[in-house]
């Protein structure tokens, strides 16, 4: 047994969990590290030394494409149920033997739809400590990657002035920078095999992070066994096979004969492969990241995040094809799909580093963590060369607790075309994007043809934030550019250099409409979730076999459901909601945390915001599509509607301020009624290096049904 809670209970650092550490400090049992009480940004840490870094002196690298291989290259071959072949387990993990795959065994965690959607592409990656990248594949020539030579070794550092990150400081997919990008298309199921190559010693973590991991495909329409459930984590020397079938929601009820050409994926010759499902549910921009229970913030901050572009007949990644289906968004023309020439992924993340230039994190502040250095694709304040034409940017807020609000430095308009994974019903011209919460993705188009070659324009962050609770204030563009904020991440952070006119005419389009919303059936059930502080734990103290080891102990955060009972701290053994498969529900998300802000993420299904603060008129144009992260705003509430269909199992919803999430602002909901009007509660997996066992749910709220 070697779960994090077991670690806590069995002799390694007794004060491993942040909550317990804080209590221990109060009891005088230990002290915080120097600088932990420092005011300002970064929170809880000394300011990051500058190392003489000047902004905009290094190029922004394109993300590093993960290789797509034949499934036959996987050894061992993937299996429907977890591969439980035994291997020796290292003494640091408890010794003995354990399964080679960390996925929970047996039929409940078998890949749903395995025979209907057999994987056709394998993407294989490791999670490991930082090392030099000798196989960087940006997917575009150097001329479209600010001159970066992909053949040159790419060091794991945020700026040339900084030292390389050590293998305990930075943990990333394949252990390298830049962050990774996976691509997939509808009609081509993917098998993502992730190998855990992290240190077996949990103390070998550079001060934060944990070596057991679970990867969430945010926000895939897949079975729960592939969702990265917070308790379905796996250990060093194990792998986990995630089966991403890449299907349209509604596949069992809408367009079941796959006759609608808009419900499709691109083939390799410019045509389409039709698929069943509702084309209005087509998705475009995902990401995947660690979801380890109680350690998501630390692990994602440490580098466990990648982006994932989904291509479809509508969103082809080829701007020239005009077949009545393809929207023709900026991308390129050389390939039939997935051209990245003018389709650029951007990961925003605030960071901090210590005196030695190594990534640093304050895990003792439950408000959240705010860094003082802005990184774009994990390099510090870079520049990016563009041609004088339209570009699409897929912008991910990959921070722990920080919000961003982006404007161009000259106040020129941008066109927002997507929000979270989904293209909007209509493009929205904006001079200032909305505050972008953690995990939200904004897809935008910028037309650089308005600028003369040789000129520069900048992305500017307008949000001042000095603690993890919420933004302090939104500044005007004038104020942000003045440089007077006490938040070093306010202001210019990415320099666009307009370096040339395009060699080929820009034939890309931004049509209106883009993707209209799916029609929602009548609501069959309403629920209310209140997100606030003061979470308590009803499943403590532990009883043998109760599953209480899956709790986050007491808060401080929590969720109250349907106005009943207490504000409950996370327990992934507790079933809070059990929507019936094939139904539509209306969920009200309320901020019970007063002036705090919480970006709430609901896994698996996309929702439509029906009203904000009681009014449909308060839903802005850029939130009128489908979403998977819902910002509550201080004192705010919203009503969403979602359909639950196609796949089952245990999913989650939680605050995506991942520090709040890790400190109990998370709940489990599940779909498993087998077509009957009742829930068949699933057993909770208990992960160990020696194998996964199961316990009965330790709590099922009356409100679940």
């Amino acid at each position: 047994m070697h779960s994090p809670i077991d670690t806590l209970r069995s002799g390694l650092p007794d004060f491993f969990r942040p909550q317990l550490l804080t209590a221990a400090i109060a009891l005088g049992l230990c002290t915080l590290p120097p600088g932990a009480y420092a005011d300002g940004v970064p929170t809880g840490l000394p300011p990051s030394p500058s190392f003489g870094i000047q902004k905009f002196t290094q190029p922004m690298p394109r993300l590093d494409l993960l290789a797509r291989n034949p499934v036959a290259t996987l050894n061992p071959a993937p299996t429907e149920q977890a591969n439980t072949a035994a291997q020796p387990v290292e003494p640091a993990l408890g010794g003995g033997t354990g399964p080679i795959e960390g996925r929970p065994p047996g039929p409940i965690w078998a890949h749903q739809g395995w025979t209907r959607f057999p994987p056709r592409v394998a993407i294989e990656a490791t999670m490991e400590g930082a090392k030099v990248n000798t196989s960087y594949n940006p997917g575009v020539p150097a001329s479209l990657n600010s001159g970066i030579n992909p053949a040159s070794p790419f060091p794991p550092r945020f700026h040339p002035n900084l030292p390389d990150q050590g293998p305990l400081a930075l943990w990333t997919f394949n252990g390298t920078l830049p962050p990774k990008l996976a691509i997939a298309r509808y009609g081509e199921p993917v098998l993502f095999r992730e190998h855990n190559k992290l240190p077996t010693d949990p103390k070998a973590n550079g001060g934060f992070g944990i070596h057991s991991i679970s990867t969430h495909e945010h926000n895939g329409h897949h079975g729960a066994e592939n969702d990265g459930f917070t308790g379905a984590y796996f250990f060093p020397n194990q792998f986990y096979d995630y089966h991403w079938p890449i299907v349209l929601a509604g596949l069992n009820t809408i367009n079941t004969g796959a006759t609608d050409p808009k419900a499709s994926g691109p083939d390799d010759s410019g045509g389409l492969t039709t698929v069943p499902g509702d084309w209005h549910e087509t998705m475009s921009t995902h990401w995947f990241h660690d979801h380890m229970f109680s350690f998501t913030s630390q692990n994602v901050y440490k580098g466990m995040a990648a982006m994932f572009n989904l291509y479809s007949g509508l969103d082809r990644g080829n701007e020239a094809i005009d077949d009545g289906v393809n929207l023709g968004l900026p991308s390129g023309t050389a390939k039939s799909w997935a051209n990245l020439d003018y389709d650029v992924n951007i990961v925003l993340a605030d960071k901090a580093w210590d005196a030695k230039g190594q990534l640093a994190f304050d895990k003792f502040d439950f408000d959240g963590f705010i860094g003082d250095r802005m990184t774009v694709n994990l390099v510090d304040n870079p520049y990016f060369e563009v041609e004088a034409r339209k570009y699409r940017f897929r912008i991910l807020n990959g921070s722990v607790s920080r919000f961003f609000k982006i404007a161009l430095s000259d106040g020129s308009p941008m066109i927002q075309i997507g929000n979270d994974g989904n293209l909007l019903p209509h493009p929205v011209p904006l001079t200032e994007l909305d505050e972008q919460g953690i995990a939200e993705r904004y897809d935008i188009v910028i037309d650089f043809s308005r600028y003369p070659v040789g000129s520069k324009v900048y992305f500017v962050n307008l949000v001042q934030q000095t603690n993890g609770k919420k933004p302090d204030r939104d500044l005007s563009l004038r104020e942000a550019l003045a440089g007077s904020s006490n938040d070093p991440v306010v202001g210019k952070f990415l320099e666009f250099r307009i370096v040339r006119n395009p060699a080929q005419p820009d034939v890309s389009r931004v049509p209106d409409p883009l993707i209209p919303n799916p029609v929602l059936p009548a609501v069959t059930r309403s629920r209310t979730f209140e997100w606030g502080s003061g979470g308590t734990q009803t499943t403590l103290p532990a009883r043998p076999g109760s599953g209480s080891e899956v709790t986050a102990f007491d808060g401080p955060w929590g969720v109250k459901t349907d106005h009943q009972g207490e504000m409950l701290a996370a327990d992934y053994g507790r079933i809070t909601a059990a929507p019936s498969s094939g139904t539509t529900e209306q969920w009200t998300l309320q901020n019970g945390g007063g002036g705090w802000d919480h970006p709430i993420h609901i896994h698996f299904e996309e929702g439509q915001i029906i009203s904000r603060d009681g009014s449909p008129n308060r839903v802005p144009a850029w939130e009128k599509g489908r979403k998977d992260v819902y910002r509550l705003r201080p004192g705010g509430s919203l009503v969403i509607r979602m359909q639950f269909r196609d796949w089952g199992g245990m999913f989650m919803e939680h605050c995506h301020n991942t520090v709040h999430e890790d400190n109990a602002m998370l709940l489990r909901w599940e779909i498993d009624n087998g077509g009957a009007p009742f829930l068949r509660p699933l057993p909770t997996p208990i992960a160990t290096p020696q194998g996964v066992t199961f316990v009965a749910p330790d709590d099922i709220l009356p409100s679940a049904f």
Partner: protein
């Protein structure tokens, strides 16, 4: 030993809950709205359009003031200026806009807000040629009731 550790953890966990829990009920939210008629111009020299655009119309401002014992009082300021119309002074061309914003602001007796917005010709596909303008607002609050009492403002350019 294990029993002691379990009891100790429970004690610590209970203390954490006591130390960190902030009763949500103590937070107060006050919502007030104000509709302001604004006007102003975006000169051709600033926008690159062939003509100056004159704006006028209503801007609806909703202030959600939240007081929370753990935080300085703050405001979520929702601005809806989509009712404002622009008209080209030479051609009479009508311009629509996307003047929606949600701004986080500190609460005080007065606030000065500048936010930019996109405007574009009232024609299919014209959003691709949108231009930017500036909405300036001066807000006054009653610090007792936390409600908006007065708003002035105008439209211009950066």
């Amino acid at each position: 030993m294990n029993m002691f550790r379990g009891a100790f953890l429970s004690l610590l966990a209970g203390m954490v809950g006591t130390m960190l829990a902030v009763p949500a009920a103590s937070a107060q939210t006050t919502v007030s709205s104000f509709t302001l008629q604004v006007e102003g111009t975006a000169p051709a020299v600033k926008t690159g359009l062939p003509e100056t655009v004159k704006f006028d119309g209503p801007v609806v401002i909703t202030a959600t003031v939240v007081t929370d014992p753990g935080l300085p009082p703050g405001v979520v300021l929702s601005i809806d200026g989509r009712g404002v119309r622009g008209r080209g002074l030479k051609t009479g061309t009508v311009y629509d806009n996307e003047a929606e914003a949600n701004l986080t602001r500190p609460f005080g007796p007065t606030d000065h807000v500048e936010t930019t917005f996109a405007f574009f010709e009232n024609a299919a596909g014209s959003f691709m040629n949108a231009k930017g303008a500036l909405l300036t607002l001066n807000l006054t609050y009653d610090t007792t009731t936390m409600a908006l009492t007065k708003v002035t403002g105008d439209i211009g350019t950066l």
